[in-house]
Amino acid sequence: MADIRTVGVAGCGTMGAGIAIVAARAGFRTLVHDTRAEALAQARKQSEAFFAKSVERGKLKAGQVQAILGNLVGTTQLEDFRACDIVIEAVFEDLKVKHKLFAELNGICPPHTLFASNTSTLSITEIAGGSGRDGRFVGMHFCLPAQLMKLVEMSPGLNTSEASFQAAWDFCKALGQHPVKTQDSPGFILNYFLIPFNNDAIRLVEAGVAEPAEIDKAVKGAMGYAMGPFELLDLVGMDTQLLLCEALHALTHEPRAACPPLVRRMIAAGRLGRKSGRGFHVYRDAKMFGA
C-alpha cells in the first residue's frame, strides 16, 4: 500500500472543512473540493481564524500556521483529486449524490487511491457498491466539530480488503485522531446509542415522569455527564433529531429509535432548540434558562 501524502476532502460544509483542518494540521497536503467557490472562501476564512486561535492558546506556533495554510488548498475542479492518495467524502447524506461523486472520482484518481466516507447514517457497503472500488473503501466517521474531536469511527464494508482498512487506520492515527473499529451497522456506535437514549429522555417527558430541567439535573448529577439529554437535544435541534430517528429507525425498526411524537409537535410549534431560542429550555442571548 502506497504511503499517504496527499489527502482530498470532497465537500466543504462544516464537516468537510473541519476534516481538512485536521489533515492539513497533521502535515498532509490537503485539497478540499466544493462546487461552490463561496463555500471554499468561507471555509478558508474560518480555518485561518481557527489556526489564529490555536496560536493564541499555545497549541500551535505562528510559524507552523503558515506551513499548514500553505498545505491547505481549495478547488472547484474535481480533476485536481488525481493527486490524492486518499479521498474523504463529506457531502450531502444521499446515496445517489455519493454514488455519483465516487463514480466520477473513480475515473479521476489513480488505482491506489483509498476512498473513505464520513457518512453518519448510510451504509459503508452501500456507498462502496457504487464507487467502482469497494475493495479500497472504508468508513471514517468524524465527530462534529472534527478539528476539536479526536474520535473517528472506522468501519470496513463487506468487500473492503484488510490491507485497505489497515492503511486507512494508520492514516487516521497519523492524523492525530483516535480511531475505533465498528461494524458497518446503522448509526455505528455513537449514534446507535445516542439517538435512542435521547428519545428515551423525551418519552420520560411525554409520560410525565419529570420536567426536562429535572431530568437534565438528574442525569448530570448521577452519571457525571457534562450535559443533560435536553441540553444536548436543544443543541442538536428537533429537526435534526427527527431526521436522525427516521434514518436509524428505517434501518433497524427498533422501537427506541422511533421518533417520539413530541418532537414533531415541537417542530410544528417552532421549538427547534437553541437555534430558535426555545426547545426543551428557553434561551435568551445564548444564555440558558430552565423551562
Binding site: M149, L190, F193, G221, M227
Partner: protein, 213 residues
C-alpha cells in the same frame, strides 16, 4: 431547617455517615425515614399529619406502595426519595425526590431544602418505577451489552466512543464492570417486570453474571 431521622436498618442511600445523617436532631418539622424498613418507620412517625414533610427512602418500589393511592388525586405530606447508586459503588450526590399528584407543595419545598442543605443535588420526579435515572440508563446499558455480544465493536472501542464522542466520564462496559453486572440485572429485571418494556429485559451478560453470583 430542623429534621429528624428514623433509621430502620441498612440504607442504600446512606451506607456511611453523611452530612445529612449527621445533621439530624431529635425533633423538627421534617422526618426522614431511611433503611430497608420504611413501611414500619412511617407507622412509627408520631403525629404524622402535623409534620411539614415525611420523606421515605425508596428501593425500586413506588411511593404509592407506602401511602396508598386514590384515583389520581393521592398525595400528602409524605414523599419518597432515593440517592442514586449503581451496585455497591459510592452513592452519587443526586437525590431523586418523589412526589404524587396531590403532594403538598410546602412538603416538597421543605424536603428539597433539607437534602440541598446537606450538599446533595435534588431532582424532583413523579411516582414511576425507576424514577428518572434508572428508567433512562438501563435500556442503554442493556443495549451496550447486547451489541457487545453481536460484535458491533470491542468493549474498549465501545467505551472509548462514548467517552470521546460524548464526553461521558466512563463507557458503558467499564461502568458495568466497576459497579457489578449482577446488580444491573437486579434493577433492570425489576423494571422489566414493572414496565413490561423489552428494552429493560436483562441482557445476556447481566443474566450470566447474576447466575454466577
Amino acid at each position: 431547617m430542623r429534621y429528624s431521622i428514623i433509621d430502620t436498618g441498612e440504607s442504600r442511600s446512606f451506607p456511611a455517615p453523611h452530612a445529612l445523617t449527621q445533621g439530624a436532631t431529635a425533633g423538627g418539622d421534617v422526618v426522614i425515614v431511611i433503611g430497608a424498613g420504611v413501611g414500619r418507620g412511617l407507622a412509627a412517625v408520631r403525629e404524622r399529619e402535623k409534620k411539614t414533610a415525611v420523606v421515605l427512602e425508596l428501593g425500586t418500589e413506588c411511593l404509592g406502595v407506602h401511602t396508598g393511592e386514590a384515583r389520581g388525586a393521592e398525595g400528602s405530606n409524605v414523599l419518597g426519595f432515593a440517592r442514586f447508586r449503581l451496585g455497591n459503588a459510592e452513592p452519587a450526590k443526586l437525590v431523586e425526590l418523589v412526589k404524587q399528584p396531590g403532594t403538598n407543595p410546602a412538603a416538597l419545598a421543605a424536603a428539597k431544602a433539607v437534602f440541598e442543605d446537606a450538599g446533595l443535588t435534588v431532582a424532583v420526579c413523579n411516582d414511576f418505577p425507576g424514577r428518572i435515572v434508572d428508567r433512562l440508563i438501563r435500556p442503554y446499558l442493556n443495549a451496550a451489552l447486547r451489541r457487545l455480544d453481536e460484535g458491533l465493536a470491542s468493549a474498549d472501542d465501545m467505551d472509548a466512543t462514548l467517552r470521546l464522542g460524548l464526553g461521558y466520564p466512563e463507557g458503558p462496559i467499564a461502568l458495568l464492570e466497576r459497579t457489578g453486572l449482577a446488580a444491573h440485572f437486579d434493577v433492570t429485571q425489576a423494571l422489566y417486570e414493572a414496565l413490561g418494556d423489552a428494552a429493560y429485559a436483562p441482557a445476556r451478560r447481566a443474566r450470566v453474571a447474576r447466575q454466577r453470583a
